[in-house]
Symmetry: C2
Subunit: 452 residues, 2 copies
Amino acid sequence: MNFELTREYINELQSLIDQKDEVEVYKLIKDLHPADIAEIYEELNVDEAKFIYYLLDTDLAADVLVELEDDTREKFLEALPGDIIARQYIENMDSDDAADIIQELSDEKQNEVLRYIDNKAQAGDIADLLNYDEHTAGGMMAKELVKVNENWELITATREMRKQAGELEEVYYVYVVDDNNILKGTVSLKRMLLSRPNALIKNIMEEDVISVQGEAPSEEVINLMEKYDLVALPVIDPVGRLIGRITIDDVVDVMKEEAEKDYQLISGITQDVESSDKTWVLTKARLPWLLIGLVGGILGALVIGNYETDLGLYPQMAFFVPLVAAMGGNVGVQSSAIIVQGLANNTLGLESTWSKLLKELLIALINGMILASITLLFNILVNNSMALTLTVSFALLLVIIFASMFGTFIPLILNRLKIDPALATGPFITTFNDIVGLFIYFGLGRALYGMF
Amino acid sequence: MNFELTREYINELQSLIDQKDEVEVYKLIKDLHPADIAEIYEELNVDEAKFIYYLLDTDLAADVLVELEDDTREKFLEALPGDIIARQYIENMDSDDAADIIQELSDEKQNEVLRYIDNKAQAGDIADLLNYDEHTAGGMMAKELVKVNENWELITATREMRKQAGELEEVYYVYVVDDNNILKGTVSLKRMLLSRPNALIKNIMEEDVISVQGEAPSEEVINLMEKYDLVALPVIDPVGRLIGRITIDDVVDVMKEEAEKDYQLISGITQDVESSDKTWVLTKARLPWLLIGLVGGILGALVIGNYETDLGLYPQMAFFVPLVAAMGGNVGVQSSAIIVQGLANNTLGLESTWSKLLKELLIALINGMILASITLLFNILVNNSMALTLTVSFALLLVIIFASMFGTFIPLILNRLKIDPALATGPFITTFNDIVGLFIYFGLGRALYGMF
């Protein structure tokens, strides 16, 4: 039952909603997956979406709420009283989804909603999760999990699991703990199917279990789950006690968000936007980097203005301004992108910063020599000014070396200062390299023109 | 048992390998996860890595082989005869990993290895998988799965599952088929735990199962699994018969690769490289885009050269060349990045191409007016040439509009031509916009200077 959203489907739905035809609207949506209903919402206005929302039973409505985009969900929750949010929606969610959604509410409304949750154990779980930063393992985990004691027999464990599993949509791993709730291992469902009922859990469990501490950053969670091909990752406290588990679907979402964020930063977009967002949202997301570019351009104009007399004497100097500027920008982005990606994926290896810079220097020298030689050849063939010919090629080489050093160094520094290194990519580096490139080019030009 | 690779660990390992101390080396690595051993390999030379490799039992060695980076693996496989590859490694792998690895071999060696596989059913499975393009669902799937007949009772199904599950590392879903192997639904392990032994599978199965056809592109697989939070996705043939299943760990790897590829394209790097790769690999990966940038810069020089007399008369025209060029580049990348990301994530929504271009035009107009006004103000304050002041601001507005239209249009066109739209990002668009921007700027300048 793969569903594909079409313009026709939306048109039909909208005309039925216009006619307030609850029966037909319900027929059209009742078999859809919550993710599909959430996708439909993005195409409707708030009133149309509300009309559908009130037709759904609370369990499905809770699932749809989880799947909605943040801004759409915000609109809904604003309009609803705290007791409805708590009793109809939050109580039907896993603790991690519930905590994520409550986190988006105002402080006042958060407390109101927590008070209205009748299941006090669930309210406590959510309150615990709200203590974690959302970019940590604790902020990603859910409290719901299936655990058994290492000293139980399989048959006891199975009976206990049946009780615990009722709350859970899917069970991927069963965690094994000791009497103090310290994580000792895991048992796979497959192993349970294949073992005898009186087997002791500690004898059939897998002891080597990869886990993560609640305070660990989300990048560590992503890297562990990706490296070890995990479907779920247990979260422990500093003592080793099992406090929650993170499932792969949540990690996939975070991974995607992180990749999108880095991609948008390198392309000069400051917020998480989509092509289908409103014009004004898209405009605002792009303007800041363009303003930086503008300031850079104006500074560039001032730099060149500084050499106005030289330029009056040798107007040909202007010909290669775009070349020098573009190369500085390109090389800087290449260098920083590799470092940013390496930091994000934890694949920088064991090389020291100095050996990285040295390698970068070597790459810049090779590429710089190749590009400078081609430019030299071009200028010897078509240009009759020796001073200009030498200026362009030599400036190009220097700019490439500077840009690659700068592009490598800045993200490493930012990372050490605990600032997102991805900020070093995109227009920031490009702009800075443009300006430095102009200084190098014109400074060198003045010196060399003086010589010839 | 979270393992962290350190320089000290590698040093110790290397000195033990130097001493050919098999016992101590084995002690140091025997409890590690295959992914950790693969990570260690990246830090060793081929001989050191081989020394370790021959200490591992074949099951673990096969797992390590799967986890290795492509180029490291290639080196190993080149040196090994076909029968060793087949009998020691391939036979210990899942069909999807086996097919991926065999795909990397030369055609001749592929056939040799396939012939040496003693388990003919496995050889057949691998040969089937080799028929699919690696960027399709068929190329991502494994043939190993657990399936039961809809007409069986749970007790029969459980017995059959025990047989089938032996081959599998983990079981996430049990697939339900009819007598013709047509996919009818799934049963969760949790549901099986909670149902009575004589329940009919067709009565406890979930009928709404999301599936994908073997020929579907990998983007569709990624989007389905992400949207519906799936851990495994069944693959069917055009008739609806179950032919394999794709697990989330493989999808996470492909997702990551796709995101990295797009990120590298936008930053002007042509191959999948990592900061820890060899200098020459990194150099080669960066040079092509720099050459395009160089050609663009030289063309730019020719464009400006065309206006040499104007420039001799009004050298101030040169001041704003970097501003105009940089803005065209920035805006073009922003526009194309949003489209490329929307195409990759399937989030472009239901808007038509025309309404996308119209929206983009509006964004460009707003941002262009803001930036042009600031520039106008700056020039009125510091500059006394009315012609230059008007030329810069007006050219900026035109360049921004052109760059945004071009940046939106090109990836959409490439996508329609079935070319990777990500190629439209990075230096290609930047370079083209630079040149067009110069034409607009100097063309406008000549006209306006004539007027004043």
